[in-house]
C-alpha cells in the first residue's frame, strides 16, 4: 500500500507543468465490520477503500480534488491524470489565495504498523457470541488496517499504518439500563477479553436493582473517564482553534478575553506523542509532540492550522484544517480511584454521558444526558441504577469552582467512530468528582 501511494505521488510529480507544485494525502483501510444485536449477528462485512486528495498549486492559486482509487495501476493512473487536468483547468478562474500555506521543508517519516490481528476472525466472532450467551449483547467489532500518507512535490513522503481492532459493545439488562464496554488494541488477547466480560457482568448485576428517579436539582457527581472524555471532547467543537478565537466564536471566549479560569488542577493538552494516529497533516506540517491548551486552569495556546497561521500572522503548530484535537489529554489529579466512592459520598456515579451540545456558548454551558450505567450512591455505597437525567451546566462551574478532584489514574480511550473511515483519535482522561452539578429534566 505504501509503495503504491509513493508510486502515485511520483506519477503526480511527473504530471506537473511549469511551476506547479502539489500536496496530496492518501487514506485507505481494509476493515471487517461485524454488528451484533441481542447476542446474534446483525450485519457482517468487509470494506476496502482507498482515496487520494490532491491540492494543485500554481503560485498563490490552488484547488483541491479527491478521487477514490481502485488499486489497479493503469486505471488509477488514468484517473489521476484526469484529476490533474481538471484541477489545472480551474486554476485560471481562481484568484490568488492570501492564506495559502504549505510545508516547504522536507520532513519525511514512516510508521508502518505490524499486523498482529487474529488470522481466524471466526474465532473472535465465536468468542464474542460466547460472551453474549445468556446475556443481551449489542455492539460492533471493527478490525483491520488503516493507512494514511502524505506526499508533496518537494519530495516529502510520510506514511502511517496501523492494524487494530475495536470491539465496542454493551450488555443490556433491560430497557435503557446497560453496561457500556470497549476492548480495543493491536493484539486480541482472549484472557484480557474474558476479564473485560467478567467485569462488565459484575457491573450488570447492579443494574438488576429497581431503578431510582431523582428530581431535577444540584447533586454531587462522579464523572468516570468516558463521561469526562465526552465533556472535554465537546470543547473540540469550537474551543481550541485559532480561527474560533480570532473570530470571537470560541466557547472559551471568557477565558481568552476576560481571563476566566478553570480549577488549577485542570491541564488539557493535545498530546500527539501519546496518541495512536499519524503526526502529519494535509499541508505537510509535522505536529509537535504536545500543545498545551489549558495549563493549571488558564487558557494557554490554540491549535493553529497553516491557513489560520497565514491569516493571523502566527506560526502554525501543525493542526489540521478543522483545528480540532486528535489526542486530548487531561492531566490526572491526586484523588486515588479507590477513593472515588468515599469522596462522592452521596450522589451520582456517571459512567457515560450522551448527546452533548452547547445551550449557551458564551457561558460555555453544556447540556446532555446520562446514559447506560448511571448509579445512585449513598454513603459511598452504590445503591441502584438511576433513570436518565438531563444536565445543563457550565464548564466554568463543573471544572472550575465546583470541581472537587480529579483521579490520579487515567484511562486511554480509543475513539470507536467510523464516519467515512475508522478513527485514529484517542483521549487520555481521569475521572472527576464535581459538586452541585445541575440536572434539569
Amino acid at each position: 500500500m505504501q509503495e503504491y501511494f509513493y508510486q502515485l505521488a511520483d506519477r503526480l510529480t511527473a504530471l506537473l507543468q511549469g511551476k506547479e507544485i502539489y500536496t496530496c494525502t492518501f487514506d485507505a483501510e481494509e476493515s471487517d465490520f461485524v454488528r451484533f444485536n441481542r447476542s446474534a449477528v446483525r450485519q457482517a462485512g468487509t470494506v476496502t477503500q482507498r482515496s487520494l486528495s490532491v491540492n494543485l498549486i500554481d503560485g498563490q492559486r490552488h484547488t483541491h480534488g479527491g478521487i477514490s482509487l481502485s488499486g489497479d495501476w493503469e486505471e488509477d493512473h488514468a484517473h489521476l491524470a484526469t484529476l490533474v487536468t481538471n484541477l489545472r483547468a480551474q486554476l485560471p478562474y481562481l484568484p490568488d489565495d492570501p492564506h495559502l500555506l504549505y510545508a516547504t521543508e522536507v520532513h519525511s517519516s514512516e510508521h508502518a504498523g505490524e499486523n498482529r490481528l487474529p488470522e481466524d476472525t471466526n474465532a473472535v466472532i465465536a468468542s464474542i457470541l460466547d460472551a453474549g450467551r445468556g446475556r443481551d449483547l449489542v455492539g460492533i467489532y471493527a478490525a483491520g488496517g488503516i493507512h494514511d500518507g502524505f506526499a508533496n512535490s518537494f519530495g516529502q513522503r510520510n506514511w502511517f499504518s496501523s492494524y487494530s481492532y475495536n470491539f465496542d459493545w454493551s450488555f443490556y439488562h433491560q430497557g435503557d439500563k446497560a453496561v457500556k464496554c470497549a476492548y480495543a488494541g493491536l493484539v486480541w488477547n482472549p484472557s484480557e477479553f474474558a476479564h473485560k466480560v467478567a467485569t462488565a457482568t459484575e457491573q450488570l448485576a447492579v443494574l438488576a436493582q429497581p431503578p431510582r428517579t431523582i428530581a431535577p436539582g444540584r447533586y454531587r457527581v462522579y464523572l468516570a473517564p468516558a463521561a469526562l472524555a465526552d465533556i472535554v471532547g465537546l470543547l473540540s467543537w469550537g474551543g481550541f482553534g485559532l480561527k474560533d478565537h480570532r473570530t470571537k466564536q470560541t466557547v472559551l471566549l471568557k477565558m481568552a478575553e476576560e481571563g476566566a479560569r478553570l480549577h488549577p488542577a485542570v491541564t488539557i493538552q493535545e498530546n500527539i506523542a501519546d496518541g495512536v494516529g499519524a503526526n502529519f497533516q494535509e499541508a505537510g506540517f509535522i505536529k509537535p509532540d504536545c500543545v498545551t491548551l489549558i495549563a493549571n486552569g488558564a487558557f494557554r495556546d490554540c491549535l493553529v492550522s497553516p491557513r489560520s497561521a497565514k491569516e493571523y500572522g502566527v506560526p502554525t503548530n501543525g493542526a489540521s484544517g478543522g483545528e480540532m484535537p486528535d489526542a486530548l489529554d487531561v492531566a490526572g489529579g491526586s484523588l486515588p480511584e479507590s477513593e472515588v466512592l468515599r469522596q462522592l459520598d452521596t450522589g451520582i456515579y456517571i459512567n457515560n454521558v450522551w448527546y452533548l451540545n452547547y445551550s449557551d456558548r458564551t457561558a460555555c454551558r453544556m447540556t446532555g444526558m446520562t446514559r447506560f450505567a448511571t448509579l445512585w450512591v449513598e454513603n459511598g455505597v452504590i445503591q441502584a441504577p438511576l433513570n436518565v437525567m438531563r444536565f445543563d451546566e457550565t464548564l466554568y462551574r463543573m471544572l472550575g469552582e465546583n470541581l472537587v478532584g480529579l483521579t490520579a489514574e487515567r484511562e486511554l480511550i480509543l475513539d470507536s467512530s467510523t464516519y467515512g473511515g475508522r478513527s485514529t483519535a484517542s483521549s487520555r482522561m481521569p475521572g472527576a468528582v464535581v459538586k452541585d452539578f445541575t440536572f434539569t429534566l
Binding site: 455492539g139 444526558m369 438531563r390 467510523t418
Partner: protein, 483 residues
C-alpha cells in the same frame, strides 16, 4: 459528469458473471461527485471537488447475510468482493438476528432522476464565485460583524442497484446546499445568524437559489446577528412557543423520526444511537400527539432532499402516513425490519455510500399543513416566544427527554410580536410534547427543508434527510435563555 451507460453495462455484465449461486445476491454501485465553494471574509476559500465510486456486493445464503465493499470494479475486484460477502454470509448463518433467506427482498426495475432546471455546470465556475463574493460582501454591514461566509455545496450522485435474478434500478440525484452566516461580537458576547442553518438543502439545480431567495438574504441575516448582540436573554418560564419551520424540522427529526425507526425499536442501535420509547405494541393505538398532528413519510415529493423512487434494498418508495390525527400508525422500517418485527413499514433502507450497508433511515419526513394563518397564530398567543433556526440539539437515547436551542427568538405578548431575545431554549419530553400541539400553519406557510447530516449506525453513517413543515404552536412549554 454522469458515468457512461457503457460503464454501467460492463459492471452489470461483470456482476452477473461472478454472482455466486446463493439465495440472494445484489450489487449496489454508487458514484458521488461534489464541489464545495465558499467565500469567507471576501476571500475565496480553497475550492474542493471530489469523485468517489465503488460498489457493495451483498450475499444471502442459508440464512446468513454478508457484504463486501470495494472500489475495484473490475471483474476480478467484483469476484473478490463476492467471495468475501459469501464468506461473511456463511459465517453468520445460523447466528443472525433473523433468517435472512426467509426475508422476501424485491427484484425491482425502474429509474429516478432529480428534477433539475438549471444544472450546476451551466453556470461557469467564475460566475458562481462572483455570486458568492457578492453575497458574502453583503453580510459585512458593520464593524461588529467579525466573521461572515457564503457557500454552495453541490453533489451529483448516481446509484445502480442490480440483483442476480434480473432486478435493476438506476437513480441519479442532484443536491444543492446553499449556506451563509454572519457572526457579530461585542466584548464577550458573540451571536451568529445563519441561512436556516443548512436547512435550505434540496434536490435540483441552480434554480433553487431563487426559490429560497439566497441572493437577497444577506442583509437580513447580518441585521439579525447585530440585533441579537443587544437583545436580552430569553425569559425563563412555562409558556407557548411558536416554532418556525427551520426549528420544526429538528423537532420532527429528533422526537418523531428517530423514535419511529424500527431498527431502534428492535435494539440494533442500542450501543450507539440508542433505543426508543416507542414499543411494538403502540402501533395502531398510541396517541402520539394532538389531533392536529399528521406525519408522512414521503420520498415522492419533488425537490425534497431525500426523495427517491427506490430505497437501497430496491423497495419501491411511496408516501405513507406514520401518524394520522395524532395516532401512531406505522414505523420507519425497511424490508428486513418489517420481517423481523412483523409490522408494516416503509421503503427506507438507505446507505450513505457504497462502503456502508443499508439501514433504516428517515428520508423525507414531513408534518402535514393545517389550517392556521401565521398572523392568527401570533394573535392567539398571550405570552410566548417565536423561535427560529435550530442551533443546539440534544435528546436522550430513548428519544424522549429533549432540549433544543434556536438562533433567534422574539417575545409574543398579548398577541403581538415584541422584543427580540437571544439564546432561546426549550425542553420537554417527546411522549407528551406533541400532545401540546395546538396550532399548525396552513399550506402557504409550509417550507421544504432538510439536513445533510443525520448520523446513525455501526459502522457510522451520515445521510441526507428532508423535512417539510409549517410553523407550529405548542402550549405550556418550559422555556429559558442563557446565563
Amino acid at each position: 459528469m454522469p458515468t457512461s451507460q457503457h460503464h454501467h453495462e460492463r459492471i452489470v455484465q461483470g456482476f452477473h458473471a461472478i454472482a455466486p449461486a446463493v439465495d440472494f445476491c445484489s450489487l449496489r454501485l454508487m458514484r458521488t461527485q461534489s464541489q464545495y465553494l465558499s467565500v469567507r471574509q471576501n476571500i475565496l476559500q480553497p475550492v474542493s471537488t471530489s469523485d468517489d465510486m465503488g460498489a457493495m456486493i451483498t450475499v444471502i445464503d442459508k440464512g446468513g447475510l454478508g457484504y463486501a465493499a470495494t472500489s475495484d470494479l473490475s471483474e476480478t475486484g467484483l469476484r473478490h468482493a463476492a467471495a468475501h460477502a459469501h464468506a461473511w454470509a456463511q459465517r453468520s448463518a445460523g447466528r443472525s438476528v433473523v433468517d435472512f433467506s426467509a426475508v422476501a427482498f424485491p427484484h425491482p426495475s425502474g429509474s429516478y432522476t432529480s428534477p433539475v432546471q438549471q444544472t450546476w455546470d451551466s453556470l461557469p465556475l467564475a460566475d458562481k464565485i462572483d455570486l458568492l463574493r457578492t453575497t458574502n460582501a453583503r453580510l459585512k454591514t458593520d464593524d461588529r460583524i467579525v466573521d461572515w461566509e457564503a457557500s454552495l455545496w453541490h453533489t451529483d450522485s448516481e446509484t445502480l442497484f442490480v440483483t442476480a435474478d434480473g432486478g435493476q434500478v438506476q437513480q441519479h440525484f442532484s443536491y444543492l446546499v446553499p449556506m451563509m452566516s454572519a457572526t457579530a461580537n461585542a466584548g464577550t458576547e458573540t451571536q451568529t445568524r445563519t441561512f436556516a442553518g443548512r436547512g435550505y438543502c434540496r434536490q435540483g439545480g441552480m434554480e433553487l437559489l431563487d426559490q429560497c431567495a439566497f441572493r437577497d438574504a444577506a442583509p437580513h441575516i447580518a441585521a439579525e446577528a447585530l440585533e441579537l448582540l443587544l437583545a436580552p436573554n430569553c425569559p425563563t418560564g412555562t409558556m407557548d412557543v411558536l416554532l418556525a419551520p427551520d426549528q420544526m424540522i429538528l423537532q420532527i427529526h429528533e422526537s418523531i423520526g428517530h423514535p419511529l425507526e424500527l431498527d431502534r425499536i428492535l435494539g440494533d442501535e442500542r450501543n450507539y444511537a440508542g433505543t426508543s420509547f416507542v414499543t411494538r405494541d403502540m402501533f395502531g393505538t398510541y396517541r402520539y400527539g394532538s389531533e392536529l398532528l399528521n406525519i408522512t413519510f414521503d420520498p415522492t415529493r419533488p425537490q425534497e432532499f431525500a426523495s427517491y423512487a427506490f430505497d437501497d434494498d430496491g423497495q419501491p418508495a411511496q408516501r405513507e402516513y406514520l401518524i394520522r390525527a395524532g395516532v401512531l400508525e406505522r414505523g420507519l422500517g425497511s424490508t428486513t425490519s418489517q420481517a423481523r418485527l412483523g409490522l408494516p413499514g416503509v421503503a427506507n433502507a438507505r446507505a450513505t455510500s457504497w462502503n456502508r450497508p443499508p439501514i433504516d433511515r428517515m428520508a423525507n419526513l414531513n408534518l402535514e399543513p393545517g389550517q392556521s394563518r401565521f398572523a392568527d397564530m401570533i394573535a392567539a398567543i398571550e405570552r410566548g416566544v417565536y423561535m427560529q433556526t435550530n442551533v443546539s440539539w440534544s435528546i436522550d437515547d430513548s428519544r424522549n427527554k429533549f432540549q433544543f436551542g434556536c438562533e433567534w427568538g422574539r417575545l409574543i405578548e398579548n398577541g403581538q410580536l415584541t422584543t427580540v431575545v437571544k439564546n432561546p431554549n426549550y425542553r420537554g419530553v417527546s411522549a407528551t410534547f406533541w400532545r401540546s400541539l395546538k396550532m399548525v400553519g396552513a399550506s402557504d406557510t409550509l417550507e421544504v427543508l432538510g439536513s445533510p447530516y443525520c448520523g446513525k449506525g455501526e459502522p457510522n453513517q451520515v445521510i441526507r434527510v428532508g423535512h417539510a413543515s409549517p410553523p407550529c404552536v405548542f402550549a405550556n412549554v418550559e422555556v429559558f435563555g442563557g446565563e
